[in-house]
Symmetry: C2
Subunit: 543 residues, 2 copies
């Protein structure tokens, strides 16, 4: 039995392009003699469709697209994800389903039994949980069909009562197919292999695992689909961050050997962010990015990643010095643009800043220079970037890193502006690693941008370290508070300094209102700001 | 049997103040001889606690607060909402529970059986659904305890299989107590009474219904708790938008008569928004609001509502004319401030706008005046408002209405800035009604602000009607698309003009990225922008 995994980059709600791409892959799979081709979860409409699922017109489009695809299955069996209507008259109106298509028709609709409703997942918002398990005969084999989270409990996940893989085995499955939408984090590939290995070992069945690839607003899908043998070994794996039709022969219950993927944490993050930028622009129909270049490391890394995603000719740097900018800032930013051969412009904010101060003088009188004046500079820059964006139809990329976003060390509508946050899930210490990685073959990011002390340059001789703990300490506290949801008592028990904990947590808590208004953040960790982290703004926090 | 409903305004995560307030109400209830006092759902921590529920420290604080309150129940029974740990080792780690306290101890913990996971609700994100139903004996009566959504299925809601009220009746309940967190919309009081009436009629039992009051970021709780007799009649009801201890005597299975509440749609919206503003400021520890006054109706209504919420002395108007402002704009804005006796300042943006144009000239060259220049003016104003905000520590109120927010007729970081959106869930046609309502006793909002043609005044002789369909038509299409989730095919079937539908839907769809970055919107309808409406940014929409 020959099986193909179609790891595709789909576009949420773009039924025409998704439909055509799926048919093209079915044709390829037929051509190379496959008995079965597997597509990802909710492939028909793209993942995540979110509240589109509440529109009847949307569900109708899903259904007619599947019916049209079914007609192309005379010479192959297709397993593909899409929503289906819950006809029981009880529970949520939809199921998250796997459609089995062959002989030109829909043969079976199999529904998801474990619905992730945590972090970025809202599946129970839309879907009813199925309590039925199903196998189908394909090419003389009993195939157990599971949908993503269905294999996330093999008896050891306290969240769930059902263990689908065991049920499928009991029903006589000889192989399990899992169609999935598993977003990237830098540890997700390992996590997936571990969980699926447990399923294989406990059932002694081989597994076909098909994932999405491509970015959907903040979510990045890395692909990395694979064939796993019954001992839990991944024997053949699709590449990360690329569309691919991966094929394997199942002989005597085991798959043929092939290439397997891996990558360092920083390499994966780098490639994920490049894909995240690329797909945001491509799927929205934009070509060029604007980045405000300060000479610092965050804007430099953002600019370099954008250049890799969109091409050096499609990134546009804007240097906006003030009287507080150091000379090396301009030099470093200019050097970065020149290293890439990218366009840049210099627009000073000095006079703009002066006129604001002058107009506000009757209100501010002799109040001392402070946060208002610092933010004014950042906002004057934001206005310039947005004006250029509006004039030329390019998208401004936000350059805030996760450490800054966490503690609110940034100006709303100023340096926190933009259409997409590239580094909002990358801690400052990781930004340094990314810069080194980008420079591994040649100096793209000027060495001075990496080695100098981080500064916002909004007043004379300002340094980040005036306002924040050292980034190596700060990032550790933030990681435990944000990623691992450790409260203040737990952090103290872990040995962190009480003053640091109190100071950091206060900063994070009092900045929820800022993060509420920031652009979508490309997610690369297991807990990013955005849809996966839902905190109240008006609240007294855990201190 | 005498029962008290404690309709409280609690503060998410503020355990100290919630605890003390709850104890104060228990003491009052004891003093006036009640057998039972009922508090709202998750009263112990405030509703909605959102991802706080994922922190162990937070749950520990909930538990110890309830233990402390239990000690005060020697002379009364208390039913109060709080999270409890799921000790089954299966399913979500928490239950959403009603604690029954008496004799100084926790007597029983009863868990929610229907978990709303739609619109603004995310309960299955945190809580396991209970399948057990429970009655408790209080004052010689069998009391069936239900938590909010538990009474939202009496056999007629396709979402759910269980019908808790029927189960409680079967267990011998003689009265049902429902502790609730039911957010305001202008039709919610009627909806609640209708649903609870069906429960009373089908079970022939009286119902005690206790709701929250007060605003929590975007959610407004209107209170309106009540005693309902077994025929489904509300016989006594707490006021809307106020804390209250409401008491009633249960004699022969029926409650004593008292006052019942009602209000017109606009009156309710008005009072809800006033409470929404008031609680946002009070709970965050702020006193004063800044509003950019254009002379138009949206900023005038926002300013007037803020004055009612915070006091006339605590609202600060900023008039920011440009060369495109009409003379009546300044006059109308000034008159509004003077009618209220509120402070205002005039800061012209003419020179600021000029210097931006000058600095951008080398980039923009001879490209014609357009959107970039219009947005520049709005953003120059945003920068001024935020600078004043930063300098004096006041909060900027956003003035965008729902019609504008829907079609993207606003400038990100310009007029879309602010800490809180007051009118973001109020359609333009409703803003006019609000203005009339505010002026019902005396002219607060200058008549000219109400009667003149709406204009953004960003270029000579601009009118909203140049860019948008007439608001009476626009708002109807928007209402069907947003509130009722009708897709384009359904809208055409309803008789809307195809060109208008296509134009409006395109505008709504292409503005998701703007709404992603706007401040929290006070929710007054059954479908507001914000946490209750989750649409992708990168997607091809239904057209």
């Amino acid at each position: 039995m020959k099986i193909a995994i179609a790891q595709l980059n789909l576009h949420v709600g773009n039924f025409e392009s998704n439909h055509d791409k799926i048919i093209q892959y079915i044709k390829s799979a037929i051509k190379s003699g496959n008995d079965l081709v597997v597509f990802p979860e909710l492939a028909i409409c793209g993942y995540p469709p979110r509240d589109f699922l509440e529109f009847n017109d949307f569900i109708s489009k899903c259904v007619s697209s599947i019916q049209s695809i079914a007609k192309k299955t005379k010479d192959i069996t297709v397993i593909i994800g899409g929503p289906s209507k819950n006809e029981m008259g009880k529970g949520k109106p939809l199921f998250n389903s796997a459609y089995v298509l062959s002989n030109g028709e829909i043969q079976k609709v199999i529904n998801k039994t474990l619905l992730p409703t945590y972090d970025i997942f809202d599946e129970y918002r839309y879907f009813e949980q199925s309590r039925e398990f199903c196998i189908v005969e394909i090419g003389g084999k009993n195939v157990g069909v599971a949908i993503c989270e269905d294999l996330w409990n093999i008896g050891n996940n306290p969240l769930y009562i059902q263990t689908p893989a065991i049920k499928l085995k009991e029903l006589g499955a000889e192989i399990i197919v899992n169609i999935s939408a598993s977003p990237f984090s830098y540890k997700q590939d390992k996590e997936r292999k571990k969980v699926l290995k447990e399923n294989a070992e406990k059932t002694e069945l081989p597994i076909v695992y098909c994932n999405h690839v491509g970015a959907q607003t903040e979510l990045i899908f890395d692909g990395g689909s694979f064939f796993m043998n019954s001992n839990g070994e991944v024997v053949k794996q699709s590449s990360f961050f690329n569309e691919q039709l991966l094929e394997a022969e199942l002989t005597n219950g085991e798959f043929s050997q092939g290439e397997v993927q891996s990558g360092s944490k920083i390499q994966l993050i780098h490639n994920a962010l490049v894909m995240g930028i690329k797909d945001y622009f491509r799927k929205l129909g934009f070509k060029k990015a604007i980045v405000g270049l300060s000479g610092g490391i965050d804007s430099a890394v953002t600019f370099a990643l954008a250049a890799r995603a969109l091409g050096n000719d499609n990134v546009y740097g804007v240097l906006m010095p003030s009287q507080y900018s150091s000379s090396h800032s301009i030099d470093d930013a200019r050097k970065l643009s020149e290293n890439l051969g990218s366009q840049y412009e210099i627009v000073s904010i000095e006079e703009i800043y002066s006129i604001y101060n002058e107009k506000l003088k009757p209100l501010f009188k002799d109040l001392p220079f402070g946060l208002a004046e610092e933010n004014l500079q950042a906002r004057a820059r934001g206005v310039l970037l947005m004006a250029i964006s509006n004039k030329f139809g390019h998208i401004v990329l936000n350059t805030s890193n996760k450490s800054e976003a966490a503690v609110g060390y940034g100006t709303l509508y100023g340096d926190m502006c933009g259409g997409l946050s590239v580094l909002g899930d990358v801690y400052k210490t990781e930004v340094f690693e990314l810069a080194r990685y980008i420079n591994k073959d040649a100096e793209i990011i000027p060495e001075n941008s990496i080695t100098k002390s981080p500064s916002a340059e909004l007043r004379p001789d300002q340094k980040d370290s005036d306002s924040l703990p050292d980034y190596t300490v700060l990032d550790k506290v933030l990681f435990e508070y944000i990623e691992n949801r450790k409260g203040p008592k737990e952090l103290l028990k872990m040995g962190f300094d009480e003053n640091v904990v109190n100071r950091v947590l206060r900063m994070v808590n009092s900045s929820e209102y800022k993060r509420y208004q920031t652009p979508p953040v490309l997610r690369i960790s297991h807990k990013a700001f955005g849809m996966g982290r839902r905190m109240p703004i008006v609240a007294k926090y855990l201190l």
